[in-house]
Symmetry: C2
Subunit: 264 residues, 2 copies
């Protein structure tokens, strides 16, 4: 199996360019666009979000309620903890992290969202977000006002079904993250984390072997409950063990079998 991002050496950057290009070819090349409209039928994520398998009528209606196709710049927030909940969001391209802070302002927990993944569900229960979302790189987002989605779900049972399934997927994904963090050693946690990322890249038809980490060491450390230094040292160790090649954020897994058998 070949991947778009393995055609040349500098594969990771190629990935991002492809995403950016394929997006721009569909939308008007507006610089800071809260205006650009991309119909769901044209979206490259088709099949990975709510629009999967539903009737073209429903798909078109869904396209109508999608309020904006936002571009988020790196470090820009989508919402912050305690903001009012109004919409759900889908990532079209890029990457964001969610994080929770305690009253002292420490970041306590972090997770990451990749294209096709849904954001904002945390606010649905109390109508207030319980976490913050910030872009790790330039990121394109779909916003779907929840009240409109709710109504549309009432009319299209299949859409409702998909929405419910996506919520369940979210729960399973959280569970997977909890499993990562449950690993006994820092090495195992980081390995599990990388393999999880690798699977998610594969789901996006990108190479699960060679990829560029969208997040900093600090973000990874925050996600796993470790320190930056420990994460850094582990990367070095993995490289020495021949498990992977590490160049800053560029990773190439050279021994997936051994890495998968998470035992040391």
């Amino acid at each position: 199996m070949t991947y778009a991002n393995t055609v040349n050496g500098n594969s990771c950057k190629a990935n991002q360019q492809i995403i950016a290009r394929s997006f721009k070819s569909q939308s008007a090349p507006v610089a800071n666009s809260n205006i650009a409209k991309v119909s769901c039928g044209d979206c490259r994520l088709q099949g990975h979000c709510l629009a999967k398998d539903i009737s073209t009528a429903a798909q078109s209606q869904l396209g109508d309620i999608v309020k904006t196709h936002r571009k988020m710049k790196k470090r820009q927030h989508l919402y912050r903890q305690e903001d009012q909940f109004e919409s759900l969001f889908f990532i079209r391209s890029g990457c964001v992290k969610s994080y929770v802070t305690n009253p002292d302002g420490d970041e306590l927990a972090v997770s990451f969202f990749m294209p096709g993944e849904m954001i904002g569900l945390d606010g649905l229960y109390s109508k207030q977000h319980t976490s913050s979302i910030v872009a790790l790189e330039d990121t394109y987002i779909c916003e779907i006002p929840y009240s409109a989605l709710e109504e549309l779900c009432g009319e299209h049972p299949l859409l409702q079904k998909h929405f419910t399934e996506l919520m369940s997927r979210q729960i399973v994904q959280e569970q997977e993250m909890t499993m990562l963090r449950g690993q006994k050693t820092a090495a195992n946690q980081l390995l599990a984390f990388l393999l999880n990322l690798s699977e998610r890249f594969e789901r996006l038809n990108q190479s699960p072997i060679t990829f560029r980490l969208p997040m900093t060491r600090k973000d990874i450390a925050g996600c796993l409950g470790l320190t930056i230094e420990t994460v850094s040292r582990m990367f070095t160790t993995f490289q020495e063990q021949g498990l992977m090649e590490v160049n800053g954020r560029d990773i190439t897994l050279t021994n997936v079998e051994e890495a998968t058998a998470i035992r040391h």
Copy 2:
């Protein structure tokens, strides 16, 4: 504010007896009952589960699809990882834990469910459960076949709304658990864990100050990624610090303010 379980000294056991009694007074006192029927209108959890605020018609229909009112004995499984998904479950009384095992059979992650909480959502996405559920004590459960619930939700938008909100609550609750585990020291993790439990007891109109832990030290350790010994030592430390009284599984928080300011 007074609580049912503070009326006498041995308050924790009183708690459990009250729950058992109020349940038995509604259902036929059948020994091993998969037969006993309790209508949603009579259930003491009213307002904490799906039946909240919905029309009496919907409530009665909901009562009709509730397949069984199961009793689970301590250590009995409700379902196991990879079992087929068919139903959602609500805890009426008692306590269960969910856990995930890796291919080597190690328990990697654990969380706990108390009365009013929904179980089984993890299977909705792939139609296969991704975790196992086992009773920590004798536990009464409602089973709701998912296909029937889905249909009923289609007819009653308010029921659909509550179901969706409960899923969101689940996501928020997972997030809270992630926050616990994200605390820096074992002491802080355990404190946060206990305070979380305390809040959940309070939500059930039980004392948030004096309660009996439904789970073993091993379960707590598994939930927080610690060892039994560390958990045990922390309990001893807390007692020495005057934060709480600990007698095996009986806990009395004697200094909630200091405990809440999770800083040492």
